[in-house]
């Protein structure tokens, strides 16, 4: 395990502070493209401020599992973020094989969320939980294939190297494969963050929801933790996409962080564009999309094995 890098922590702080901006950018992009005015870009900050000052109501059917879920979700995401080289150099925490820990933490967060949903005993949340884990079983192999491609490209088993200086060095040789990985990660970003075409974050229809329906019973500070976690997850996946497609090893620290933040903004705009030009997939078609993402990553692996 390496020494704690203060520039990496500064980058993490910058990402944490700006993460709630990303859903705002998505919404504004959608509004702009469909001729509406849209909510303020800072809306999620207002929402979080409002929710943190509220009380919570717990159903009598729920146990500590339900109450623990939001905390575990946010904690796992925060910890996972520690493994990402957000300053373009090295992560605050890095060791060989940390990519497994990263994927495991995301899975743990999902597990907690799903258990919390099931704990309510509501048939809606049971359905949402079932959908969430079904689609996760397609999304996780795709994520691992992306990581395998990055490991093959850089020869390293740590996210800090896979997304840091070694990646920048191999870019000229492996541009095609890395572009495929970036595309695959973008599809995973849409799926993992319950965006169109996989889920619809704007719907009020419980029967069609995947992610939103699991958190229907959370309120107040619990909901705030989940929404903050949602924004952070979008930022984490955005950082993966930006990390693969835009190597920043050659830049100064401030420039690298600025480039990351701009990159995240661009990713958010792209998400908004996707949501404005296409409808959601029928639920049974979602695995096909995720298998498609896995196929992209698999082609990258094949290209790198050549």
């Amino acid at each position: 395990m390496g020494l704690v890098s203060w520039t990496a922590l500064a980058a993490l702080a910058a990402v944490l502070l700006t993460a709630p901006l990303l859903p705002g950018i998505v919404v504004r992009t959608k509004s702009f493209l469909t001729g509406r005015r849209g909510a303020p870009v800072l809306q999620l900050y207002y929402d979080l401020w409002k929710l943190f000052r509220k009380g919570t109501v717990y159903s009598t059917t729920t146990t500590w599992v339900f109450r623990a879920a939001p905390v575990v979700v946010l904690a796992t995401l925060l910890t996972a973020a520690l493994f990402l080289p957000l300053d373009g150099r090295a992560a605050p925490v890095h060791f060989a094989g940390d990519l497994l820990a990263f994927a495991g933490l995301l899975a743990l967060g999902r597990f907690a969320l799903v258990l919390g949903g099931l704990d309510t005993g509501s048939s809606f949340e049971g359905m949402g939980a079932s959908r969430e884990v079904t689609f996760a079983s397609f999304a996780e192999p795709a994520l691992f294939l992306c990581f395998i491609a990055l490991v093959l490209a850089t020869g390293d088993l740590s996210l800090s190297d896979m997304l840091g200086a070694p990646l920048a060095a191999v870019w000229p040789r492996a541009a095609a494969a890395l572009t495929l990985v970036g595309a695959s990660l973008f599809v995973l970003l849409l799926a993992e963050n319950s965006r169109v075409p996989v889920d619809d974050p704007a719907t009020h229809l419980e029967l069609t929801m995947i992610h939103e329906v699991i958190v229907l019973d959370h309120g107040g500070p619990d909901l705030a933790l989940i929404q903050l976690g949602g924004a952070l997850k979008l930022a984490i996946f955005g950082a993966l996409v930006v990390g693969v497609l835009v190597p920043r090893a050659g830049l100064g620290v401030a420039a690298a962080i600025a480039a990351l933040l701009v990159g995240l903004g661009v990713v958010a705009v792209l998400v908004g564009v996707v949501e404005s030009v296409m409808a959601r997939l029928r639920l049974t078609r979602v695995p096909q999309l995720l298998v498609g993402a896995a196929a992209l990553a698999l082609f990258a692996v094949i290209l790198l094995l050549r």
Partner: protein, 503 residues
Amino acid sequence: MRALVELGLRNRRAVLLADVPLEDVDGFRQTVVDAVAAGWRLVAFLGMPETAETTRLLAILADDARGQLGAASTLVGESYPALTPDCPQAHAFEREIAEQCAVRPEGHPWLKPLRRHLPDHRAAGRTAVVLDPDVYPFFRVEGEEVHEVGVGPVHAGIIEPGHFRFQAHGEEVLFLEIVLGYQHRGVERLLETVDRTRAVLVAESIAGDSVIGHVGAYCGAIEALARSRKSPRAQAVRGIALELERLANHVGDLGAIAGDVAFQPAAAFFGRLRGEFLNLLMLVSGNRFGRGLVRPGGLAFDLPPAMADEMRRRLERLRTELEPVARLLFESASVQARLEGVGAVPREACVELGFVGPVARACEVARDVRHDHPYGVFRFAHVPVATAWAGDVHARALVRWHEVLRSLEFVLDQLAALPRGEPRAECGELRPGELAVALQEGWRGEIAHVVVTDEQGRVRRHKVVDPSFHNWTALAVALPGNLISDFPLCNKSFNLSYAGHDL
């Protein structure tokens, strides 16, 4: 059949109640079953107290191909052999009769409360209750892997209350049971008891999005009983208002269908354009939902020429704005993939169960009151009937889009050459002892008002049949085999009225 035809009942033409054949129960049952087998359709089936112990059952049938209506009746006591086993179109009507009149249809296969209220049209000497409003036996599918999902009556959106219970196997729906009645206000009883100045307001409030549809049918029945003749101008303006209501709702629902599949651009633009059509209704009637315009005898006020010009200008602009949005909706592959093959209503079910409106037309059953039983302005200006064949969400959306285009043409034509005439004619006392049926093609389909007067010329029975009354069954028929996550989309493509059903 001959007796049905010889009665001479037509849309908005009253006959003497004494001329309506009164048969024994078996004869009546045979008449209705034979007529339906021969292609007639059950428009309304109702009960009204006759003596202290007996109830008169009255069936109104329609022969759409010939534009004829027919009526048959019988007297029953506590019970009678149900028609439903031989005539499935009667199934909801017979539940309604059991609930309203406390007359038991023996042998009805699905005898459950319909709106869950106590009898309000029971023969005076009877005290029995056939259907306990507090007991509702749900249908259940048993099995280890079967799960039950209940939705509502309180929903996440700002919509009306209704309870949907799904028996599902994973994501696949095996069975859907719809329980309504949360909006029951006793509309029929009100229409029978309040005076006419208030009754017209009640008629306007039957379903908030079908104001012109219901008040037009109400006025049609009252005018037929009072022998009141509207001026051509009043008929034309009523037609314009009815089509504007259709335009606003069809356009709004196309946007809502787009919204349910998360297709933002069409949802946003159709949503805005719906408002434009409501604003046109506002211009004509002073109310965005068309209240206060249609009154017995014609209109409450005229449509001045300057207003007609303004409306035509706005409609021409709206036509150019609508077309690109519809192209976006109907030509986007991701949208088509969601709409096609979802929620299909089989054509046979449509014929057998008597669905109406765009739901029927989407299964190539060309039922349209404006065409089959023309009245008012529609006798002179024909609106082509739009049909599709697949019966799925896509077909329903397509039918509605074609109706949007045709209604636009109709309204523009009418506004270009509004006939002359006084807006309102005299509409006096109702003739005693008569029966009048007024059908109107609301945007959801056939709205029927059946009014019977007593010997003093007062309203004895006022039956309202909203198209939703027929078509809620269509939703329950369409859903099994579909994904539970596609239910909201299916539901939206029907967009049925809870209030119209619950009365």
